[in-house]
């Protein structure tokens, strides 16, 4: 199964055989985005066009297969940036047509869950997934990653990764903000400043997130304390995000009776989120599964992993009129 991902700023082509990873080639436009301090959709779309064929070639070389050996094609149909998505969808449809193979248009969020099969084996019959990235912050109940995914909560404003990017910019740490804050926070005191934990009141939606207020709180605090140590601010901000992400995910496991939690998305590469979630899962008797960082960020292998699961579970391929859907609902793992 060959999978193509192009929903944001990474062009990914992955090749898997069942739950075995054969190749995971990624080309990123982040270096081109750095000078703009964030993802510019038109720049991402242009980069996908330039990277698509070379990334396909690189994946085939790594896997030691030719395109003709591929049995089926999967592609992220949404959600994401529409101009970026259509590049991957066009490439996948073209391959499926030229090679006369079935095509599966799949959901980016389900793919972030399915990718863990490549590292930790088959998914259990039910689990909770916490997906946190620059575009998403969602808690899902996953009964069947190919057909039955239910949203339990999501951010009502900024995504967690977006908050990292914005706060990193305030601190002069550059883009992308996640790795920069993670690094800066290592020398800081996470308890130095108590930043607000959004939507944690008794009447708030138990599994929704809000990071907009946190971002504003950091901004105000910096205005009042211009000479504060960057490391302390970074560590305290990161603690607030990791605290609220992990506590709500663990609460969702308890509420639904699920004993497995899966982390995914670029923010799942954050060291503090991984450590704190592990600690809380251990205390609650929940099994935590976190793919390695390269599989957490956007990549083609996750799309191939979900495509392979679609085949394994006998799901019908998508039709020839498959398009990109920038707001594809999470309850739709496969586009007909």
């Amino acid at each position: 199964m060959l999978g193509i991902e192009s929903s944001c700023d990474e062009t990914g082509v992955g090749i898997v055989s069942g739950t075995t990873l054969l190749a995971d080639a990624v080309a990123s436009s982040v270096p081109e985005q750095v000078r703009f301090g964030g993802v510019v959709p038109e720049i991402a779309s242009r980069a996908h066009v330039d990277a698509m064929v070379p990334t396909l070639q690189r994946a085939c070389e790594t896997a030691g297969v030719s395109l003709r050996d591929v049995d089926a094609i999967a592609v992220t149909a949404g959600p994401g940036l529409v101009g970026a998505l259509v590049v991957g969808v066009a490439a996948a449809k073209s391959l499926a047509l030229a090679l006369d193979k079935p095509l599966y248009g799949v959901n980016h969020l389900s793919a972030h869950v399915a990718v863990d099969q490549l590292q930790h084996g088959p998914l259990p019959d039910g689990c909770v997934a916490l997906l946190a990235s620059g575009g998403h912050s969602s808690i899902l109940r996953v009964t069947d990653v190919t057909a039955d995914v239910e949203p339990l909560g999501a951010t009502i404003d900024d995504a967690a990764g977006e908050a990292f990017d914005k706060v990193a910019r305030m601190l002069g740490l550059g883009f992308p903000g996640g790795p920069a804050i993670d690094l800066a926070a290592r020398d800081g005191d996470p308890g130095a400043i108590t930043f607000p934990r959004g939507l944690t009141g008794p009447r708030d939606a138990p599994f929704d997130y809000s990071f907009s207020g946190l971002k504003t709180a950091v901004k105000r605090w910096l205005a009042a304390n211009p000479h504060a140590p960057v490391a302390d601010v970074a560590a305290s901000f990161q603690e607030a995000v990791a605290d609220v992400l992990s506590s709500k995910a663990v609460a969702a496991c308890r509420e639904t009776g699920m004993d497995t939690l899966i982390l995914g998305g670029g923010v799942a590469a954050n060291s503090r989120l991984r450590a704190l979630t592990q600690q809380r899962c251990d205390a609650a008797g929940i099994r935590l599964r976190v793919p390695r960082p390269a599989l957490c960020t956007d990549n083609g292998a996750m799309v191939a992993a979900l495509g392979a699961e679609m085949v394994a579970r006998g799901r019908p391929p998508s039709g020839w009129l498959l398009g990109a859907d920038s707001s594809l609902p999470v309850v739709e793992p496969l586009v007909p």
Binding site: F36, V40, R46, M52, L56, L67, V87, A90, W320
Partner: protein, 179 residues
């Protein structure tokens, strides 16, 4: 194949297929190719219109052509999307909709393009080329320009295709570097 305008158009031998879908190129292109090509192994060469044109649709054609050529192991080349109609027109100006109240335009004489296409407001076409016959899809939105005609992929087959398989954007991306 050409996806540089709202007309998503494909031709193979004498067969042709097209659909007018301003934002639906990704949905329709592969299905249109299936309509005109019964066996992909019959395809020996691909020619794709590389624009200029609105970017999202344009990219669908370019990426489809490049990927298909890679999968089939056959050559692919780009052609200015306006050249097919320009060749058919012989003498005149071809205009396509560039959105943002502008058009892409190129001047043809004897069916050959004189210089690179330009992007300009429709009102400036007559100033730039006074008295010259203007034809193209942009006339649908700007009827005062001249005569309406769609771009057809079938017209591209006979044009010398020597451009890289890369979108001819003509505009830089709208983005301001962070301070």
């Amino acid at each position: 194949m050409d996806t540089s305008t709202a007309h998503c158009t494909v031709a193979f031998g004498l067969r042709r297929a097209g659909v007018v879908a301003p934002t639906g190129h990704a949905e329709h292109l592969a299905a249109l190719i299936r309509e005109v090509v019964s066996s992909m192994s019959d395809v020996e060469r691909i020619v794709v219109g590389v624009g200029p044109g609105p970017y999202t649709g344009l990219r669908v054609g370019v990426v489809t052509a490049a990927t298909m050529a890679q999968a089939l192991g056959i050559p692919v080349a780009g052609v200015c999307s306006l050249d097919g109609l320009g060749r058919r027109l012989g003498d005149g100006v071809v205009v396509t909709d560039a959105r943002r109240r502008e058009v892409f335009a190129a001047r043809y004489r004897g069916g050959r393009r004189l210089g690179d296409p330009l992007v300009l407001p429709p009102a400036q076409v007559a100033d730039k080329w006074p008295g010259v016959h203007v034809v193209g899809p942009a006339v649908q939105r700007y009827p005062d320009l001249g005569e309406f005609a769609q771009l057809e992929a079938a017209d591209l087959v006979d044009v010398t295709a020597d451009l890289p398989v890369h979108p001819w954007y003509l505009r830089e991306p709208d983005a301001t570097p962070a301070s």
